[in-house]
């Protein structure tokens, strides 16, 4: 009887041992896989939004229908103007893609705000009869050269790049232009690409002062004249080119910035319209005035 009990207990122990080995083997083979899956899922959850994801799911009140259906290629507004002279405005919402630009503590990202501002500026410019080309429609990040190239391919264009600062008096706006670039030409009279702005610096200054004056009327504390800065984006642009920077991403509420959009749009559109008569346009893209 005692032997029988021992046999039974021994059999059960052996069976349990075999099962234990199976369980252990399975667990060791499956656990890393499960953990890897869990880790991958966490990583995916933290990955930045895909292009256009935000604009398509949570459209901003500032967005236009054309922006909501944005595509990656530069988009030209309709109808194209047939007027001679300045008729194209290349609008450049800065940053984008993996480059968010300035970031506020409240989660405000420069790349998103400027896209919404661009929509407002575009509407105001179209209302003035300008054809508008945007360097990006969604969350892409074209290179500086690609953005300049869009402007340089146009005839009779001006270039406006939009920025939101991370410093400065909130509620003010500044216009920047390149100024002190040394003029030079290579053999054959070709302007080097990296100094394409040189022949246009005077015109850029004039456009910048006009827009800045209008911004100063709308936003107290803004300077009356355009500032000089070595803005990389402007240097390779073969057109009258200005950078407009709005202060700032440090505001607590994004609505504080959004409220500035109509005023900024109106100032830019009016400034470009006032500038139009003073721009004698080259007959070919990239040509100098």
């Amino acid at each position: 009887m005692l032997l029988d009990v021992r046999n039974i207990v021994g059999t059960k122990r052996r069976a349990l041992g075999r099962n234990g080995i199976r369980v252990g083997a399975l667990a060791f083979s499956l656990v890393p896989g499960v953990l890897a899956l869990g880790f991958y899922a966490r990583t995916l959850a933290k990955t930045p939004a895909a292009p256009f994801r935000q604009s398509s799911t949570t459209p901003s009140p500032l967005q236009t229908p054309s922006q909501a259906n944005a595509q990656g290629t530069p988009e030209t507004s309709q109808p194209p103007s047939t007027k001679a002279g300045l008729n194209v405005v290349v609008l450049d919402p800065a940053h984008g893609g993996t480059d968010p630009g300035a970031r506020g503590t409240g989660g405000i990202r420069e790349s998103e705000v400027v896209l919404d501002f661009a929509a407002q500026v575009r509407k105001a410019l179209e209302a003035q009869g300008f054809q508008v080309v945007q360097t990006r429609q969604g969350n892409e990040d074209p290179t500086f050269d690609d953005r300049s190239a869009i402007a340089n391919a146009q005839t009779g264009a001006v270039f406006v790049t939009l920025h939101i600062a991370s410093t400065g008096l909130p509620g003010t706006a500044r216009v920047y232009v390149n100024w002190d670039l040394p003029g030079t030409t290579e053999a054959g009279g070709v302007i080097p690409w990296d100094r394409a702005q040189v022949p246009f610096q005077g015109l850029s200054r004039k456009l910048g002062d006009m827009v800045q004056g209008l911004l100063a009327q709308r936003f107290k504390g803004s300077p009356n004249l355009a500032q000089t800065a070595a803005v990389r984006q402007l240097r390779t642009t073969a057109a009258p080119a200005i950078a407009v920077e709005i202060s700032s991403v440090v505001v607590d509420d994004r609505a504080d910035l959004d409220r500035m959009a109509p005023g900024v749009a109106d100032a830019i559109a009016t400034g470009v319209a006032q500038f139009r008569p003073s721009y004698v346009v080259a007959s070919t893209p990239g040509g100098t005035p």
Binding site: V23, A149, A230, P289
Partner: protein, 269 residues
């Protein structure tokens, strides 16, 4: 269901729960360790590079520094500090730049990030200086045209006021030429420091009147839309604006002098 399957499922569930709890803890620890390591490296670099020997025998001079005015408009104010500065230009430049980096008494008026370090500084013949800063200068500076221009202005104006031998400045980040400081300001060229000297002996080609037929050279990237542009033709009459020939101001960029051309004056001598 077989018992061993139940055991397996049970064990897997336990493993998943343990993993879900432990992984975030592990990631936090790793992030903390990485940050600590970075800080330690930055501190070590600062200790190694920032200590500029100051000879107490040097006469004290009134050095001028340019920090933010605090108005929020990007302007700078001059602050005078008495320091025993070296008469040797490179050493003197290092001393004034390290003082500038250390910042004013009011930290709100800083123009450069507190973690930024001057790694190297040297002056080429003809007065072009090269300042090599740590990565913190680019990563910790507030992003924006105004803040980046203010940082460069504070450097160039401080050098202009204290080291007359420096005529132009090339800024490197950790030994590398970078396209922008923090996404806006152009660092591909050299900045004018001493406007008077630059006017007297230009090291870059003098401005020329651009012919109206001047086309623009192709961009570096052949894939950009401008590569399809047609050659430029003469524009209509009456140029609306002439190419500016204004005197360069301190901090102005002269893109022609990248690292490739910086070496040229050395060869000439």
């Amino acid at each position: 269901m077989a018992r061993w399957i139940k055991w397996t499922i049970g064990l897997l569930c336990v493993a998943v729960i343990v993993g879900a709890i432990y992984l975030p803890i592990l990631r936090r620890r790793m992030a903390r360790a990485a940050k600590l390591q970075q800080q330690t490296a930055e501190q070590a670099r600062r200790e190694l590079t920032q200590a500029v020997p100051v000879n107490p025998g040097e006469p004290k001079v009134k050095a001028k520094f340019y920090w933010a005015s605090g108005n929020g408009d990007g302007s700078l104010v001059e602050t005078t500090i008495e320091l025993p500065l070296s008469s040797e230009p490179v050493l003197r430049s290092k001393q004034v730049l390290n003082t500038l980096l250390a910042g004013p008494v009011d930290a709100e008026l800083r123009t450069l990030p507190p973690d930024a370090v001057l790694l190297a500084f040297y002056i080429l013949p003809r007065g072009t200086a090269v300042a090599d800063f740590s990565e913190a200068l680019a990563t910790a500076i507030p992003s924006g045209i105004q803040s980046e221009q203010m940082a460069v202005d504070s450097i160039t104006r401080t050098l202009e006021a204290n080291v007359p031998q420096v005529q132009r400045l090339k800024i490197l980040i950790h030994g590398q030429e970078v396209e922008t400081l923090a996404g806006h300001l152009d660092l591909m060229g050299t900045f004018v420091v001493n406007t008077k000297s630059v006017q007297e002996s230009p090291a870059v080609p003098a401005p020329v009147t651009t012919p109206v037929t001047t086309p623009v050279a192709a961009p570096p990237s052949a894939t950009s839309p401008a590569s399809t542009r047609k050659p430029a033709a003469p524009s209509t009459d009456k140029p609306a604006a002439t190419p500016p020939t204004a005197k360069p101001s301190a901090g102005a960029l002269t893109p022609g002098e990248g690292p490739g051309t910086l070496a040229q004056p050395e060869r000439e001598l």
